[in-house]
C-alpha cells in the first residue's frame, strides 16, 4: 500500500510539473504582449516598459518559468511583499497573490461541491436503487422517465427558470449569495440552496440512471443468481452482493465529478453570480492572466490527481480482487 502511494504521489508531482510547463509555454505561443495587456488607458511605450519590469516580463521566459516553479516550493518576493510557499505568483490583472485569491474563492467552491454532492448522491443513488429494485413497475418507469428528461437539462437553462420563479417573481427566496458557514450557518444554507438544488437536480438524474443500470446489470451476474439460488434473502442479496459490485463504476464517476466540481463549477457560478474557483479560472483565461491561469490549472490538477489516487484506493476496499502492487 505504502509503495503504491509513494509511486502514485511521485507520479502526480511529475504530472503537475508537466501541466505547469505545458500551460506556461503554451501561453507564450499567443502572439501578444502581456505588459501591453496590463496597460490601461494611458499606454505609452514608457508605461509599458515600467509594467514589463514590474511584472518580471523583461526576464527570459525560462527564468520566469523557473522562478514560478521555485516559488511553489520556497515562496517568492514581490513588490507587493513576500509570497509564502506555495506561491503561485501575482496576478497580472489584479495584483493579488494568486494563492490568496484561490484560498479566498475555495470555501464557496467547497460549499457548492459538498452540498451538491450530498443531495445528488442521496437522491440519485436512492432513486436509482429503488428503480432497480422495482424494475418494470410504474415507479421504475416514472423514475427512469423523469431522470431521462432531467438529465438532458442544463444548469444555464434550469437556473434562470428557478431564479425567476423563486426569486424574481415570487420573492420566496433571496438571490443566491455565499455567506461563510462560520459567519451564519442559516444564511450559508439559504444562500446556497438554489445552486445546490439546480445542480443536484441535473446530477441526481444522471446518478439515478447510472445506479439503476449498474444495479440491474449486477443483479443478472452469476454470483448474484447463485446467492438467490442458495435461498438468501432478497434484501441481503441486493445490498451485500449486487450493490457492492455496482459501486466500482459509481465511485469512478463520483471521483471524476468531485474533482471537476472542486476545480470550479463554472456554469453554476456564472448562472448564480457566485465567485468560486470556476469564475477565477474564466477571469484568468479571459484577461490572459498567466499566473492566475497557471495557479488555477495547477490547483485543479491537484484535485484530479489526488482524487484519482483515492478512487484507486477505494477500488481495493470495495473489490478485494483488485490487488495493489
Amino acid at each position: 500500500m505504502l509503495q503504491f502511494l509513494i509511486r502514485r504521489l511521485s507520479g502526480a508531482v511529475v504530472i503537475m510539473f508537466l501541466i505547469g510547463a505545458f500551460t506556461f509555454f503554451l501561453f507564450y505561443t499567443i502572439p501578444q504582449d502581456f505588459a501591453q495587456l496590463s496597460c490601461g488607458k494611458n499606454c505609452s511605450p514608457e508605461n509599458i516598459a515600467v509594467i514589463r519590469e514590474n511584472l518580471g516580463l523583461d526576464k527570459p521566459i525560462t527564468t520566469q518559468f523557473w522562478e514560478f516553479m521555485m516559488g511553489i516550493v520556497s515562496g517568492r518576493d514581490f513588490p507587493q511583499g513576500h509570497c509564502a510557499a506555495p506561491c503561485l505568483g501575482v496576478s497580472f490583472d489584479s495584483g493579488q497573490f494568486v494563492w490568496d485569491s484561490i484560498v479566498d474563492r475555495f470555501p464557496l467552491t467547497l460549499s457548492l461541491t459538498i452540498g451538491g454532492l450530498v443531495i445528488f448522491l442521496l437522491f440519485g443513488l436512492g432513486t436509482g436503487l429503488m428503480a432497480a429494485w422495482k424494475r418494470g413497475t410504474a415507479l421504475d418507469k416514472v423514475v427512469s422517465g423523469s431522470s431521462m428528461v432531467l438529465s438532458s437539462f442544463q444548469i444555464y437553462f434550469l437556473g434562470p427558470i428557478v431564479l425567476s420563479l423563486l426569486v424574481f417573481n415570487t420573492g420566496w427566496l433571496e438571490s443566491p449569495k455565499y455567506v461563510p458557514i462560520t459567519d451564519s450557518p442559516g444564511q450559508w444554507f439559504m444562500g446556497m440552496l438554489i445552486p445546490w438544488a439546480v445542480m443536484a437536480t441535473i446530477f441526481t438524474a444522471q446518478y439515478t440512471r447510472m445506479a439503476r443500470s449498474t444495479m440491474i446489470e449486477q443483479l443478472q451476474e452469476e454470483h448474484v443468481r447463485t446467492a438467490r439460488a442458495k435461498g438468501m434473502r432478497q434484501r441481503y442479496v441486493f445490498f451485500r452482493y449486487a450493490w457492492r459490485g455496482s459501486l466500482i463504476p459509481i465511485v469512478t464517476i463520483i471521483g471524476m465529478d468531485l474533482s471537476a466540481l472542486l476545480s470550479g463549477a463554472v456554469v453554476t457560478e456564472f448562472t448564480f453570480d457566485l465567485a468560486g474557483i470556476g469564475r477565477l479560472a474564466v477571469e484568468g483565461s479571459l484577461s490572459k492572466d498567466l499566473p492566475l491561469t497557471m495557479g488555477v490549472m495547477l490547483f485543479g490538477a491537484f484535485f484530479i490527481l489526488i482524487l484519482n489516487i483515492i478512487v484507486d484506493l477505494a477500488y481495493a476496499y470495495i473489490d478485494p480482487r483488485v490487488r495493489l502492487a
Partner: protein
C-alpha cells in the same frame, strides 16, 4: 428631483473653454414627460453651461443638503467586475473614478447642481486655485483639519508626495497630464524613484513654502489645471500612509467612507470614515452607513434583480454598468421599473477608425465614401438602440464644450442609415476597383459581432470585399493600437478626461503622439491639426474654444481619419428604496454623492 443647490450659483470665475453641456439634466423619472429621448441635442444645448471655477465660499462645506435625505442603512452596489485600481495614482477609468469619490479626495473636485451644471471647487484646497503669470503658476492653499482615516492632518508635503510618487515606477496606469506639464514627456527622468529615496522636485517646479501652501510652476500656461487636479488620478496619498505597490489594495481614506473589507474580484465593504468632516467638503454627503459592493453580478442579472425589486435589491444601485440591452424593452414597458431609471449621454464617441498607413485608406474619397455608407442608426441599434446611443455628426461628444448639435458634414442626421448613392459616386471618382479587399477588425463581444455584420453588409454592397477579423476582447485595443497593425479599419471609442476637447483631440488626433499603444488609432499626422492643437493648449479659454472647434472641423472635413458613428448613452436602474438618484453629468453614471435610503 433635488432642488437647485445654490452653492454652485456663487461660483465666481467662469472658464468658458472648460464649459460643459449639462445635457443630461435631472433624472427623476417621475417628472419625465414620457419623451424617452428627451435628452436630445436641442435640450442639451438649452442646458449648456460652462464649467465654473469656484471660489472659497463655493468650496466650503457642508455640501447643500439633499431634500428628504435620511441617514443610515447600507446601499448594495451591483458590479459585473472588480475595480481596476484603488490606488488613486493608478485610477484612470470610470469605474474606479466613481468609487474614488467615496473614499479619496483631491486638491479640487467637481461640484454639480441638479441641472448638471459643473463647478470646479476646492476639495482639500480652499478654492479651485489661484493662477498667476498668465496661467503658468498655480497656487493652492489647504483647508484646515482635513484628515486621513487615521486622523493625520493633510499638509502640503502630502500633496507634494502625491505628485512626486507619480514619477516613480509604482505608478504606471494613471493620468500623466500634470507630470508632463511640470517636467515634460520624459517626466520620469526628472525623479526616477519618485519621492521614495528622499529626492524631490525642485522648488522651481513644485513648491511647498509652508504646510498649507502648494505652488505649481509650469513652463507654459495650463488653464485646465483645476480640472485636471479633480481627476481621481490626482487624489491625495498621504506620505505616512503610502505603502507603494500594496497601496492599490488597501488605500487610506480621506473621504466620507473607508474600506472595511476587500476581497479581490468578489466584494468590497465601505463603512463611514469618522475622520471625515462635512464642514471641509462642499461636494460629498455621508447619508448612508456604508456600501456593499458585489463585483460578480453580470449586467443581465443586475437588471433582472432591479426590475424585480425584491429583498436586498430595493437598496441596490447599478454603479457603472447599464441596463442589459436585451431587457431594455422590459424596463421601458414596466412603469415601476422605468421610474427607477436614470439616463444621459456618456463621454464616449464611437468612430470607425481608418488606418491611414494602409494603402487602401490613403485616398480621402474612399474614406468619405465609407463614412457616407455606414448605417449609423443600425450601429446604434446593435448597442442598445436609442437608450444606448445616438447617431453622431462629429467626433466630439455632447458632453464637451463646443459641441454643435447641428454639426453634420456627412448628412447623418438626415440620413441616419447612410447614403449609399453618394458613397458610390465618390468611389467612382476615386477610381475604385470592384472587389477591393478590406480588413475590418472587431472585438469578439456581442456588440462587436453585431456591428461587424452591419459594416460588412454596408461596405460589400458598395463593392468592397470585407474580410472580418475577430480579435479577442482583452487584446482588441492592443492589436489595433499597434502602428503596424494589418487592418484597414476598426471601431474605436474614446471619452474625455474632463469637459475639454483637449482631452480628446490631443490624445486621439495629435500627429506628434502617434506611437505603439497610443490612442491615435488612425495614425493621423496632419500638420494643420497639429498646429491647431499646439495653439489651443496655450490659449486663453475663450480663444481656445474657437481653436478646438477649428481643429475638430479640420479633422472631420479635411482629413476624415475616423468616421463618426454614434454618441454613447447610458441607462441605469436602482432599487425602490434608493433616494437622491440622479444622472451625473460629470461621471456619466448615477451621482454617488447624493444617495440615501428612503427607509434606512
Amino acid at each position: 428631483m433635488n432642488p437647485i443647490r445654490m452653492r454652485t450659483v456663487r461660483a465666481i470665475t467662469v472658464a468658458i473653454a472648460a464649459g460643459s453641456l449639462a445635457l443630461t439634466g435631472c433624472s427623476d423619472s417621475s417628472k419625465d414627460s414620457g419623451k424617452d429621448d428627451s435628452k436630445s441635442k436641442e435640450d442639451a444645448k438649452a442646458q449648456s453651461k460652462p464649467v465654473a471655477y469656484g471660489d472659497a465660499q463655493a468650496s466650503t462645506g457642508p455640501a447643500e443638503a439633499v431634500t428628504g435625505a435620511k441617514t443610515g442603512g447600507t446601499i448594495n452596489v451591483y458590479q459585473q467586475s472588480d475595480l481596476s485600481h484603488m490606488d488613486p495614482g493608478q485610477i484612470y477609468v470610470s469605474d474606479a473614478g466613481q468609487f474614488a469619490n467615496l473614499i479619496h479626495r483631491g486638491l479640487t473636485n467637481f461640484q454639480e447642481d441638479d441641472k448638471g451644471n459643473l463647478t470646479v471647487v476646492g476639495d482639500v484646497a480652499t478654492d479651485s486655485g489661484k493662477s498667476s503669470e498668465g496661467g503658468k503658476t498655480w497656487t493652492y492653499t489647504l483647508k484646515d483639519d482635513v484628515k486621513d482615516e487615521d486622523g493625520n492632518v493633510i499638509t502640503s508635503k502630502d500633496i507634494r508626495h502625491t505628485i512626486e510618487r507619480q514619477y516613480s515606477k509604482v505608478i504606471f496606469d494613471g493620468p500623466t497630464y500634470v507630470q508632463t506639464w511640470l517636467s515634460g514627456s520624459d517626466y520620469r527622468k526628472a525623479l526616477p524613484d519618485g519621492p521614495y529615496k528622499g529626492k524631490h522636485l525642485p522648488d522651481s517646479v513644485l513648491e511647498t513654502p509652508d504646510d498649507k501652501t502648494v505652488v505649481f510652476h509650469f513652463k507654459t500656461a495650463q488653464p485646465d489645471l483645476p480640472q485636471a487636479l479633480a481627476m481621481a488620478g490626482y487624489a491625495i496619498v498621504p506620505e505616512k500612509q503610502d505603502t507603494k505597490e500594496k497601496y492599490d489594495k488597501a488605500p487610506a481614506s480621506l473621504g466620507p467612507y473607508k474600506i472595511a473589507e476587500y476581497k479581490a474580484g468578489k466584494s468590497l465593504k465601505l463603512v463611514k470614515n469618522d475622520q471625515w468632516d462635512e464642514k471641509t467638503d462642499s461636494v460629498r454627503h455621508q447619508y448612508v452607513d456604508g456600501y456593499t459592493f458585489t463585483n460578480t453580478i453580470d449586467q443581465a442579472s443586475q437588471t433582472k434583480r432591479l426590475i424585480a425589486d425584491r429583498g436586498e435589491a430595493k437598496n441596490a444601485i447599478q454603479f457603472t454598468d447599464s441596463v442589459d440591452p436585451a431587457q431594455l424593452s422590459t424596463v421601458i414597458g414596466d412603469a415601476d421599473a422605468k421610474k427607477r431609471t436614470i439616463q444621459g449621454y456618456q463621454v464616449y464617441v464611437w468612430a470607425l477608425s481608418f488606418n491611414l498607413d494602409s494603402a487602401k485608406m490613403k485616398d480621402k474619397k474612399i474614406r468619405d465614401a465609407i463614412t457616407y455608407a455606414i448605417p449609423n442608426q443600425s450601429m446604434v441599434q446593435a448597442d442598445g438602440g436609442r437608450y444606448g446611443g445616438e447617431v453622431a455628426g462629429g467626433l466630439l461628444a455632447p458632453t464637451l464644450p463646443g459641441f454643435d448639435p447641428k454639426y453634420d458634414p456627412f448628412g447623418k442626421l438626415k440620413k441616419p442609415n447612410g447614403d449609399p448613392a453618394k458613397a458610390k459616386a465618390l468611389l467612382k471618382e476615386a477610381g475604385f476597383k470592384e472587389g477591393t479587399k478590406l480588413s475590418y477588425a472587431y472585438s469578439n463581444t456581442p456588440r462587436g459581432q453585431a456591428q461587424m455584420l452591419i459594416i460588412k453588409d454596408a461596405l460589400n454592397k458598395l463593392g468592397f470585399n470585407v474580410q472580418a477579423k475577430e480579435i479577442d476582447r482583452a487584446t482588441f485595443y492592443e492589436q489595433v493600437g499597434k502602428l503596424k497593425n494589418p487592418y484597414d479599419l476598426y471601431m474605436t471609442g474614446w471619452g474625455q478626461d474632463w469637459p475639454s476637447p483637449s482631452t480628446v483631440i490631443t490624445p486621439v488626433y495629435d500627429g506628434d503622439l502617434v506611437a505603439d499603444g497610443a490612442p491615435n488609432y488612425s495614425h493621423i499626422d496632419d500638420p494643420k491639426v497639429n498646429d491647431l492643437i499646439k495653439k489651443a493648449v496655450t490659449e486663453e479659454p475663450e480663444q481656445a474654444a474657437k481653436t478646438w472647434e477649428e481643429a475638430h472641423h479640420a479633422i472631420v472635413e479635411d482629413t476624415n481619419p475616423s468616421a463618426p458613428v454614434y454618441y454613447s448613452k447610458q441607462m441605469q436602474l436602482y432599487g425602490s428604496n434608493i433616494g437622491g438618484a440622479r444622472f451625473s453629468t460629470e461621471s456619466s453614471y448615477i451621482d454617488i454623492n447624493d444617495l440615501f435610503l428612503k427607509q434606512p
